[in-house]
């Protein structure tokens, strides 16, 4: 799994660190931290504090990538990421990234605790279960309602943040498709915790989950880039062929250096507008679209193949 540790560190360095420096532009009165450790903050942290948090997280990701003391670097990285996501979630809406920010700790400790990947998978599956229950009692399964359609319309008109396919989907797709989307969403969320106990059903449910995340990004504009890393980990931990374990980490050194270089450009130069001046496509929108389409699509293919292969170990 050292290969995955390096890939995860590269992913975090490239697109996975929450930059919360914007929080200092808001008023203290808007700061409503969710119940939990974030309540220790009495107001919005200063710009110097959030800048320090950002660079500490990058430094810790480099430490994690290096591999020395991976248990502690993974744990520290998870804590720093949690603080970043916690600050992001202190303005009226909680961003649910728990499986993503606990992943470095899980990867760091799996050498010591062999069952860590299984418990991690349970947490992910349980998360989906908690999303299914309110949908069922809220009326998602009633044929006269199209909840996903309603949220797509809301994204396009009220939130004024349409995704690449929102308008097309809202104006073109028929009612039965939206109802089917409602039913499939509820079904896969509720059944994930049941399906995860067998490898073939795990492959199938992860395939559907990825299709769900990609569909949600392209219609409801809700990114799940961190979840792509989570599904990559699950595939490696439970479904990947053994031959993958033999890939020497040195082979991905070039990728890592490129990721670190891009991360430096992204975090340091973009705020002063240099990347935009150079015409480089630096936007979270492009990053998310590339990761969801390419990363998510590749993983869908891998999970699909794992489901179809009868010799899956």
């Amino acid at each position: 799994m050292s290969t995955f540790r390096i890939l995860l560190a590269a992913f975090i360095l490239t697109v996975g660190v929450p930059d919360v420096r914007w929080t200092s532009t808001l008023a203290d009165g808007m700061f409503t931290p969710p119940f939990g450790p974030m309540m220790l903050f009495t107001g919005i942290p200063s710009l110097a504090w959030t800048t320090l948090l950002l660079w500490s997280t990058y430094a810790c990701a480099v430490w994690f990538l290096w591999g020395k003391g991976e248990r502690w670097s993974g744990l520290t990285l998870s804590v720093l990421l949690a603080v970043g996501f916690g600050l992001e979630s202190s303005f009226g809406k909680i961003n649910h990234a728990t499986p993503y920010f606990i992943l470095p700790a899980v990867v760091g400790w799996q050498g010591t605790w062999k069952r860590a990947p299984l418990y991690y998978l349970v947490v992910l599956a349980f998360q989906f279960f908690t999303a299914a229950m309110p949908k069922i009692v809220g009326g998602w399964l009633q044929p006269q309602t199209h909840a996903a359609y309603g949220y797509a319309v809301e994204t396009m008109t009220i939130q004024q943040s349409p995704a690449l396919l929102t308008q097309w989907a809202v104006t073109t797709l028929p009612g039965w498709f939206w109802e089917m989307a409602d039913v499939i969403t509820v079904a896969f969320e509720a059944l994930f915790i049941v399906a995860m106990w067998r490898r073939r059903s795990l492959a199938l449910i992860c395939f559907v989950a990825l299709a769900f995340h990609i569909g949600v990004w392209f219609t409801l504009h809700i990114p799940a880039t961190g979840y792509v890393a989570c599904y990559a980990y699950i595939w490696l931990a439970f479904l990947a062929p053994r031959t993958l374990a033999d890939i020497p980490p040195q082979r991905i050194l070039v990728l890592t250096i490129a990721a670190a270089f891009y991360a430096a450009l992204r975090a340091w130069l973009s705020p002063i507008g240099l990347l935009e001046t150079l015409g480089l496509p630096f936007t979270e929108e492009v990053e998310n679209t590339v990761i969801m389409a390419l990363g998510g699509g590749t993983l869908m293919w891998l999970y699909g193949r794992a489901f179809l292969r009868t010799e899956v170990p």
Partner: protein, 191 residues
């Protein structure tokens, strides 16, 4: 990479896993009824169904800037919070410039069967929780009393977006879909 078997093999492992699942379920029940903590292993339910019988019910906020010469200009929540990232602008506006009473959209969505019952139970449990844990109050919605920092921020932000406008008052009006009369108005005078 396939060293991790999915199903726990020994009785002790299975008991440990069952205990872990039990803790997760109890934790979910508590957080559903009391308050969603961060961090937690739960996902948003999106329980509200905004579309029913081809009608999409939503809340639309408008920020109306009234100048000294009584002319008015309208801003959207997205313009106001353009500098934020990964934040729902309308939710942030709702957290800060909104009265405590329930909006007709949400009240209507909640007026059904089991969903309504659970919502009512949750509302009463949360009120109780906030009374015994005062720190939780801070996480609740504002009740229309705009604090000085938000008031100052709002006027400074409007000045930054509309540099040629001198705002005297700013009104946040909340509309229900297709309605022409707002169901809630929060007015803020210049600090």
């Amino acid at each position: 990479m396939t060293a991790f078997a999915t199903i726990p093999r020994t009785r002790r492992e299975r008991l440990r896993m069952a205990g872990f699942l039990f803790v997760l379920v109890c934790g979910f029940a508590c957080t559903y009824l009391l308050m969603e903590p961060f961090p937690s292993p739960i996902l948003p339910g999106f329980a509200r169904v905004p579309d029913e019988r081809d009608t999409v019910a939503m809340e639309i906020p408008l920020v109306i800037v009234v100048s000294a010469n009584n002319t008015s200009d309208t801003l959207s929540a997205q313009e106001l919070f353009a500098e934020t990232r990964n934040v729902n602008a309308i939710e942030l506006l709702r957290t800060t410039f909104y009265h405590e009473r329930e909006s007709p959209v949400i009240a209507r969505a909640e007026g059904r069967g089991l969903y309504h019952t659970l919502k009512e139970l949750r509302r009463s449990m949360r009120t109780w929780f906030a009374s015994v844990v005062p720190a939780v109050q801070r996480s609740f919605r504002r009740n229309g009393n705009i604090d000085a920092s938000s008031r100052a921020w709002l006027f400074a932000r409007v000045q930054a977006i509309r540099p040629h406008t001198t705002a005297q008052r700013i009104r946040v009006e909340w509309f229900e879909t297709d309605a022409t009369v707002p169901f809630d108005i929060v007015e803020v005078s210049a600090p």
